[in-house]
């Protein structure tokens, strides 16, 4: 099926965007073409995704980073050493200190998870709100076969990455968590781009590049994470909004 997705609509789009604009007659043919193009889009891609969802998610992400920095920043800059590494070092340490280290690690992970869950929840709610608004505007159902297909393809890499991030946290390798979340999120975006606005493919590429930078320069990983999830979301959201939604551009949406 991806083959047909990629090759066949192109003829329609060529006709519509290259040939049609200069035409003044053949109303019927034009109408038929418009309809065919819309049907191909509507039936195979989830086009209700709103740019404002991206902006909102980006803002929420930045707030999450600021909160993490304020409350847990000092731990982040000790990374990627796990707390075990501190206590299992050359010096012989008492059992009590091992307990302390364990409790410190435990409370750090707990706090980080609370912030992360809150950030994710708020981002999802705002994305849902703006997408619902746009689907209403387009007169399309928000939850249909295309939405389902996009979500499934987005979730497979995302859940895998989330799982790995949790395992890294449990091992105390916290410095690599921002990098791995960026890497899997980028892959998820590229995977989902076949089933929604194609533009998010490039956002995915950017996230993957950032993930490597975050992994190599892990002491700056929180900052790089905020560029990927925060700044890039906002920039991309604005670009998509201007491209597709502003001035009633909704109708001109192409893939």
């Amino acid at each position: 099926m991806p083959k047909s997705l990629d090759s066949y609509p192109k003829i329609i789009f060529t006709l519509w965007y290259k040939v049609v604009p200069d035409m003044t007659e053949q109303e019927d043919q034009l109408k038929a073409l418009t309809e065919m193009r819309d049907l191909m889009n509507k039936s195979s891609r989830f086009i209700s995704m709103s740019g404002l969802s991206g902006v909102a998610a980006g803002v929420v992400g930045l707030v999450g980073v600021v909160i993490t920095y304020l409350f847990l920043g000092e731990f982040f800059f000790r990374l990627p050493f796990s707390f075990e590494a501190i206590v299992y070092g050359d010096t012989i340490i008492s059992v009590t200190r091992l307990d302390e280290a364990f409790m410190m690690k435990f409370s750090f992970i707990r706090d980080l998870l609370v912030i992360a869950t809150g950030t994710l929840g708020l981002a999802l709610i705002s994305a849902w709100y703006f997408t619902r608004r746009k689907s209403k505007k387009l007169g399309l159902p928000m939850w249909d076969a295309t939405a389902k297909r996009m979500i499934i393809n987005l979730m497979i890499p995302l859940v895998t990455g989330g799982g790995f991030a949790l395992v890294l946290l449990a091992h105390g390798i916290i410095g690599l968590v921002p990098a791995i979340t960026l890497a899997f999120y980028g892959t998820a975006l590229i995977n989902a781009s076949k089933y929604t606005l194609n533009d998010i493919r490039y956002l995915g590429v950017i996230q993957i590049i950032l993930s490597f930078i975050a992994a190599i320069f892990y002491e700056y990983s929180l900052v790089i994470w905020s560029i990927g999830f925060g700044v890039m979301h906002i920039v991309y959201g604005i670009v998509l909004y201007v491209k597709y939604e502003k001035n009633g551009n909704d109708e001109k949406q192409k893939v």
Binding site: S4, L5, I11, L15, M23, M36, L39, M40, S43
Partner: protein
């Protein structure tokens, strides 16, 4: 010259619902009857008659199966359907390009 192109038009596709069905099936693996109806905004009977016309031509294949013990009908485009639809699009393209040059 334009007349030439028109004679090559595939008569089977001379209907907006059939064109719509083909467009949808070209970009999807298989599509349920109810979803086709929803996308094209037509009645059951109307859609069924056009689908059976396309089926008779061998352009569309019917997939009948049971989903949760309920009968479920979906449709997919056949390879000859793909070929015919592409040829139709090419004729359309040439026609529009030809008009453009004048």
């Amino acid at each position: 010259m334009g007349q030439d192109y028109f004679s090559k038009f595939n008569k089977v596709f001379e209907n907006r619902i059939r064109l719509g069905v083909m467009s949808i099936l070209m970009v999807n693996e298989n599509v349920e009857f109810t979803r086709l109806k929803e996308l094209l905004d037509v009645t059951d009977g109307n859609l069924a008659s056009h689908l059976s016309a396309l089926e008779k031509e061998g352009y569309v294949a019917v997939i009948k199966q049971f989903v949760n013990k309920k009968p479920n009908t979906s449709y997919a485009v056949t390879s000859s359907g793909k070929k015919a639809f592409n040829e139709h699009l090419n004729v359309l393209e040439n026609l529009l390009k030809g008009r453009l040059k004048k």
